[in-house]
């Protein structure tokens, strides 16, 4: 057991402690809050690096390096509930990613939130989030995982609703909380069931964990009522939790609305880390999901039901969200749908290619999506809280650093060949999907998604950075209500002026993230699949011949063609004829008004939910209210009246019957006592006299009685 594993708990506890200190500080001290938050993240990052290097040192030994440590938390019955954490390649990679991205975004926030009066509260929540997220990452125990998972959900709620005086933000926060709660219910049920089946919630415990061979084979052989293996059912329930958190298809509605929060929050929580927690969960319990069920003695090896579900949901989400992103006008909303789409890719990767494929995209995506969000934050800041891409334009010249980094992020996201991380990770997913034996469907969906991704990112960049600046014309009040001001409290929002570049505290993190967005791709190329090997505990070998193997090269070429097609189409539609004013309709809107309306309204999913689930819920609530008011309320009122009547009766009986009898008795007793007390005069000789007389009388009586 290495010392770093023993002390791995420090990584989440440091930010948590920072958040606690900020929270209990009476006077909001901006400098202290920012210093504490950033300082704790620096230490967490250094520790994470240490953990990573330890894993790296042991890499190449037999099997996957894995160490667990923990403590007994509480006892129930004869068993102890343990909280365990683990250090393995998956954890190490995530630790470094989360702490680095968090650190950069913390630094960025200092600049972005500089004018906000609730600066300290913001950093308190951010630190709490970072601590909980790191807790999720190191957890080797579903209980610890779930606790941190829920704290993460809570901070997401708090930070989306950070500007709670804005009704849309408050509503978005509620929506996010409730929607993810639906998924979390599935996760909780899965957890309980898993405990019932295996008697442990530890992932790995030297052969006794619930993700290890013994438990898995037991679960796979055990069937539920519907003829499904228990492992499958539990896997599906846990996946439901991941669906909620990662914004997959039926529960994706909260993620775009979550953009109501401050932009650093969107970058950190709703793009880079928290939403990836769902993907991480699937990666973490991958052995359970990949466990082939044994039904009637036959082992199904090709793929499992759970992974099929993961794959299909991921693929559908990827295309679905990407197509919506095409028709959005809010800069953050485009990125939000892009995030949903990319999370779909990760799920697809996990389903078809295993942990390494999905996780690689998670890591690269975290960097370039954080970069894009921070870039959009910088744009919004520079354009005086304007979020509508139609009102931007021409920012290339005034914001050169932001433009350069944003372009790198955009090319990485679009998957521009060879030089950007997104290309390699997306290509790996497509490659795995191509080889999927069950169905070719996900592969084609993935390709379509890649085309759309390149297209909408080109559209966004063309609208924001090219052409001429179209802002500063929103004086007409009729139009003003449609704009959401990102930072209503900021002093700058009231000033209209030319756009400007953001300060160095904001552009610095952008540059660092941009470097990572490029470099990270090279740890997972087909020629040198180091990342893959690292997670699986194998050695990576540099082998260029793999690049030219028929399948790989063909796929790389075709995905490059797809990307170029998307970029070209986007440029042809939006870059060639640049939009002159903010009011003119979109090119697609002119060409295909019907389809554009569908996309712009997000396929009316929100409306469908409003008409089905929410209306049903409201109806049920109304019925309950009616029952409460009239039926149960009436019953309660009746009982009240009956009780009051009875009470009156009792009072009457008490006063006029019981009390009267009692009073008379007491009076008699008192008078009798008064008379007798006269006898009790304290002269002992008197008593003796009475005794003597009584004795004589007794003797006389006895004598007389004997005789007669």
């Amino acid at each position: 057991m290495t010392c770093i594993t023993q002390n791995l708990w420090l990584v989440p506890v440091l930010p948590l402690a920072a958040s606690a200190v900020i929270a209990v500080n009476k006077q909001p001290q901006r400098k202290l809050a920012a210093t504490l938050a950033i300082g704790s993240m620096v230490f967490a990052f250094l520790l994470s690096l240490g953990a990573f290097s330890v894993v790296l040192l042991h890499h190449g030994e037999e099997g996957v390096f894995r160490e667990v440590a923990g403590f007994n938390w509480l006892q129930f019955g004869g068993q102890w509930l343990r909280l365990d954490w683990a250090l393995d390649p998956l954890t190490a990679v995530m630790l470094v990613m989360v702490s680095l991205v968090s650190l950069l975004i913390f630094i960025f926030s200092v600049g972005y939130m500089a004018h906000d009066e609730n600066f300290t509260r913001f950093f308190c929540f951010l630190s709490l989030f970072a601590g909980a997220m790191l807790g999720v990452v190191i957890a080797n125990n579903l209980v610890l995982f779930f606790i941190c998972w829920e704290i993460v959900g809570l901070t997401s709620y708090l930070l989306i609703g950070f500007w709670y005086h804005k009704p849309s933000a408050a509503a978005a926060a509620k929506k996010a909380f409730i929607t993810t709660r639906i998924g979390d219910l599935g996760l909780l049920l899965g957890m309980v069931w898993l405990y019932a089946e295996t008697g442990t919630l530890n992932f790995y415990a030297h052969g006794n964990g619930c993700l290890e061979h013994t438990a898995l084979t037991t679960m796979a052989a055990h069937l539920t009522a519907a003829g499904m293996a228990v492992s499958t059912a539990i896997g599906l329930l846990i996946f439901l939790g991941a669906v909620g958190k990662s914004g997959q298809l039926p529960l994706h509605v909260w993620l775009p609305d979550a953009m109501e929060g401050p932009t650093p929050v969107s970058a950190l929580i709703h793009a880079a880390t928290m939403v990836a927690a769902g993907v991480f969960l699937v990666a973490r319990v991958f052995p359970l999901m990949a466990q082939a069920p044994v039904i009637e003695g036959v082992v199904y090896l090709h793929s499992t039901t759970v992974l099929d579900v993961v794959t299909w949901i991921g693929a559908l989400t990827a295309v679905f969200a990407a197509s919506i992103a095409v028709a959005q006008n809010d800069i953050k909303r485009i990125l939000a749908y892009s995030t949903v789409s990319q999370l779909g890719y990760m799920m697809l990767g996990l389903g078809v290619g295993g942990v390494a494929v999905g996780m690689f995209h998670l890591i690269t995506h975290a960097f370039f999506k954080a970069l894009l969000f921070l870039g959009s934050g910088s744009v919004i800041h520079g354009c005086h809280e304007e979020q509508d891409v139609r009102r931007m334009g021409g920012l290339r010249k005034v914001m050169p650093v932001t433009f350069a980094t944003y372009a790198i992020g955009m090319l990485a996201l679009a998957g521009f060949p060879l030089f950007f991380s997104g290309f390699w990770s997306k290509d790996e997913i497509l490659h795995a999907a191509h080889g999927w034996p069950v169905s070719p469907g996900p592969f084609y969906l993935g390709c379509a998604g890649a085309l759309l991704t390149a297209f909408y990112m080109t559209r966004q960049v063309a609208l924001v950075f090219f052409g001429q600046y179209r802002g500063g014309v929103r004086q007409n009040a009729a139009d003003a209500h449609s704009h959401k001001k990102d930072q209503p409290l900021s002093t700058e929002s009231s000033q209209a002026g030319p756009p400007h570049e953001s300060p160095a505290v904001m552009t610095g993190p952008l540059v660092v993230l941009a470097i990572f967005a490029v470099l990270l791709g090279f740890v997972g190329t087909p020629a040198w699949p180091w990342f893959d090997a690292f997670l699986n505990g194998e050695r990576a070998e540099l082998n260029f011949s793999r690049l030219t193997e028929s399948g790989t090269l063909g796929l790389m070429l075709s995905s490059a063609v797809i990307v170029f097609a998307g970029l070209g189409l986007g440029w042809w539609l939006y870059g060639r004829r640049l939009r002159k004013t903010a009011e003119e309709p979109d090119v697609l809107q002119v060409a295909q008004p019907g389809a554009f309306r569908w996309l712009a309204n997000k396929y009316f999913v929100d409306e469908i939910y409003a008409a089905s689930v929410i209306r049903f819920n409201a109806g049920a609530a109304r019925i309950c209210d009616f029952l409460d008011h009239w039926i149960w309320g009436g019953v309660v009122l009746l009982i009240t009246w009956v009780t009051m009547g009875l009470a009156r009766l009792y009072r009457f009986m008490d006063e006029f019957m019981v009390d009267a009898g009692f009073d008379t008795g007491c009076e008699t007793l008192r008078e009798g006592g008064g008379e007798i007390s006269a006898w009790h005069n304290g002269r002992v000789q008197n008593y003796l006299r009475v005794i003597g007389v009584a004795l004589v009388v007794l003797v006389l009586f006895l004598t007389w009685w004997r005789k007669s």
Partner: protein, 103 residues
């Protein structure tokens, strides 16, 4: 008149005298003397019933009386101590004036 009857008669007389003394005297010490007399009347009864009873060889009555005398000695000591204590407290041993036990 059998010896038993004689003894009982004497002891009844002794008891009556003791009772009269204990009831009538105002002096606490004299009341105590009366009580002692009654006690000894009871002792005399014990002796008489033993001596003229069915098993005079068993020494039971004698034993009880010796016990009783020992207890009487202790009781006299306690009684006199009480009287002295009361006297110290109230400067009198007139029983009519000591009536704190009044209900």
């Amino acid at each position: 008149m059998t010896p038993l009857q004689g003894c009982l008669l004497v002891s009844a007389l002794l008891f009556a005298i003791g009772l009269a003394g204990a009831v009538t005297r105002r002096n606490a010490i004299l009341a105590l003397v009366g009580i002692e007399l009654m006690l000894n009347a009871a002792n005399l009864n014990f002796i008489a019933f033993w001596r003229f009873g069915p098993h005079p060889e068993a020494l039971t009555g004698l034993m009880v009386v010796i016990f009783s005398i020992a207890i009487a000695a202790a009781e006299a000591a306690v009684g006199l101590a009480l009287v002295i204590a009361i006297y110290r407290h109230r400067k009198t041993i007139n029983l009519d004036e000591i009536k704190d036990l009044r209900g």
